[in-house]
Amino acid sequence: MAGSDVLAFIERILPDLLRGAVITVELASMGLFLGLVLGLPTAFLRAYGKGLPKYIATLYVEAIRGTPLVVQLFIIHYGLPDLGLTFPRFVSAWLALGINSGAYQAEYFRGGIEAISAGQMAAAQALGMSRLQAIRHIILPQAFRLALPAWTNEAIYMVKYTSIAFMIAVPELLARGKMIISWYFRPTETLLAVAAIYLVILWVVARLMRLVENRFKIPGIGFETDQRA
Amino acid sequence: MSTLSPEPVKPLLDGSLKNENEKKREIVRVSGLKKSFGSLEVLKGIDLSVREGEVVVIVGPSGTGKSTLLRCINLLTEPDAGHVWVDGAEITARGADVNKIRAKTGMVFQEFNLFNHLTALNNVAIGLKVVKKIPEEEARRRAMEELERVGLSSKASSYPAELSGGQKQRVAIARALAMDPRVMLFDEPTSALDPELIGEVLEVMKKLASEGMTMLVVSHEMGFAKEVADRIVFMEGGLIVEEGPPDVMFSAPKKARTKEFLGKIGAIHGGTVVA
């Protein structure tokens, strides 16, 4: 029977796909983390910095947002060896995703920072806080909450965009699917299974982020509203 | 414009009022109107008749269905039961041409609802162009006349965002008037205005009344009601509690509840309404 045949096929390829899914999730979470590490300081440099540091932060954000992720990946993986920097495939993909995400995250955090009124900084400084203390204790906690919905979106984008790692043969979910297609040539079932696994991952991510948002909710700091909208 | 004799306090004036008005054509008739939102019954059976040239002001506490009643008359809100006739045509009838009948009523909203992407002139002209299919030039000419009528021809090319609240509401009145309505419905037209801007809108409304426009007004402006209304309708809890000419309603209402409400609101609005 065709139905049970399809099921049997999917059962056969599922373990392989799931191994790919693990790599997808690893790439996504590591990429998000690198993006956060790069994005937060960039946001503050753009919001409060001046001179060269601010200029560099702006250049980073604009250069990344103005070019495709695939090109960035190819520059890192195929281009940097020209300059003597060679990375394993997984590391190249991670760097590309993280550096790319950092530029977008910087914009979300900057949006959050700029949505906080100047009065907050003034009030903090009036209490005797230094600029850095004010940022750390007053601005950051609010900006973080304001940026959360956009950050949730970023997490979801990140999972989807990990699929570009396939282009440099990182064995993540899509790459495994592509391999399975070339072995069995049953693209319909394989691709639908791959798509279904992505949907499940995204569903879990959305759920997790909802938990995070609820955990950090403070009345009056409205992060129900999407900053991107 | 009152068609009544300005005879003061005489508790049973209803008879003579009826005779006076019987000759006039009925513009709006509402019968047995009911409307619920979920489990909340907002209108519990309303009967109301407005005759040509009459100015009827509906008063009552907030949330008693005054606005809903107004919106049921042009079917912006669909009633659950009852019938509404506008200028002889039943808008609630099956297969009624709602848009055509609706165009016979002009409505003015609390929040103005001017079309933000159009200049004052085009706000007034768009109904003429789209609904009445009047050619561009003619529509603009007539829109200009309506703007003159509300004293705003100088603001013809301003966008809503460039107008004050009072000016916006006057444009909204002109927009409704341009459609040549048989009756104007005013839904708290001054409630969203700063106090100093209320006067100019009320002036326009008084002028309309004096020109013989049939008007149905939901308002808390007791001064306006006293001065301009032919009849005051007091609504509470989804029902009409009492109606009558302003002098009777303000000085000698039949129902205790009417007296209490009109007295209170008169005091709040600084009027000297209670005898």
Binding site: R65, G66, T67, P68, V70, V71, Q72, F74, I75, Y78, G79, L80, P81, D82, L83, V159, K160, T162, S163, I164, F166, M167, L174, G177, K178, I181, P187, T188, L191, L192, V194, A195, Y198, L199, L202, A229 | N74, L76, N99, K100, R102, K104, M107, F109, E111, N113, L114, F115, N116, H117, I126, G127, V130, V131, Y159, A161, A172, R175, A176, M179
Partner: protein
């Protein structure tokens, strides 16, 4: 300097892909608009069933990664319908953009506010007339910034068509890099071309936006 000269020599070949890239982006965006706008209207004004269908479409096409969509259209749809690689990529990108554009337009329509619709209906306009003359002219203006974002995303994502061998900018850069053994110089040059395109596009849309701004 020698590398710059090299990129310069390869540039005409790489730029030969700009046409394909732009074509792909324009087709995807146009398709997204033609499908996305009605979807948005259906989601705002449609019955419950219609809204469910539209939102399921949206969720699916926004959730499945573009590369997976492109493969689905390349391996499955294109084989059945005998489409070229380019068409498969354009179809995948267009239907995906429709899902995103419908979100953008839905948000814009909803932020126009119900008062505008009510006022239009009170003048005797039909629902359709009110949408056509009052709601849409405002919603389309409000949607310009979001649409600009989407246009930039689509333009950049055309590079995904590389994966099924469409000879767009990225694919040509890869050929050039293989020919010259200078991937860093070539891909950086390619990045610069993309940057100029998105920069120009953003500039253009900012112009459009300020020309059509509705003051509220």
């Amino acid at each position: 300097m020698e590398k710059v000269a090299l990129v310069m020599r390869e540039l005409p070949f790489i730029l030969g892909g700009v046409g394909t890239t732009v074509q792909l982006a324009v087709i995807a965006l146009a398709m997204g608009f033609v499908i996305g706008l009605p979807l948005a209207l259906m989601e705002v004004y449609g019955s419950r069933g219609v809204r469910w269908v539209v939102s399921t479409y949206g969720t699916l096409f926004r959730s499945v990664p573009l590369l997976v969509l492109i493969f689905i259209f390349y391996f499955i749809v294109a084989k059945v319908a005998e489409l070229s690689n380019f068409s498969a990529a354009a179809l995948a990108m267009g239907l995906r953009s429709a899902a995103y554009q419908s979100e953008i337009f839905r948000g814009a329509i909803q932020s126009v506010g119900t008062g505008q619709m009510t006022a239009a209906r009170s003048l005797g306009m039909t629902r359709f007339q009110a949408i056509r003359h009052v709601v849409l002219p405002q919603a389309l203006r409000l949607a310009i910034p979001g649409w600009g974002n989407e246009a930039a995303v689509v333009l950049k994502d055309t590079s995904f068509a590389y994966a099924i061998g469409v000879a767009e900018l990225m694919r040509r850069a890869e050929y050039a890099s293989a020919r010259t053994y200078e991937p860093f110089a070539i891909f950086t040059g390619c990045a610069a071309v993309y940057f100029l395109m998105t920069f120009g596009l953003t500039r253009l849309l900012t112009r459009v936006e300020s020309a059509y701004r509705v003051r509220t």
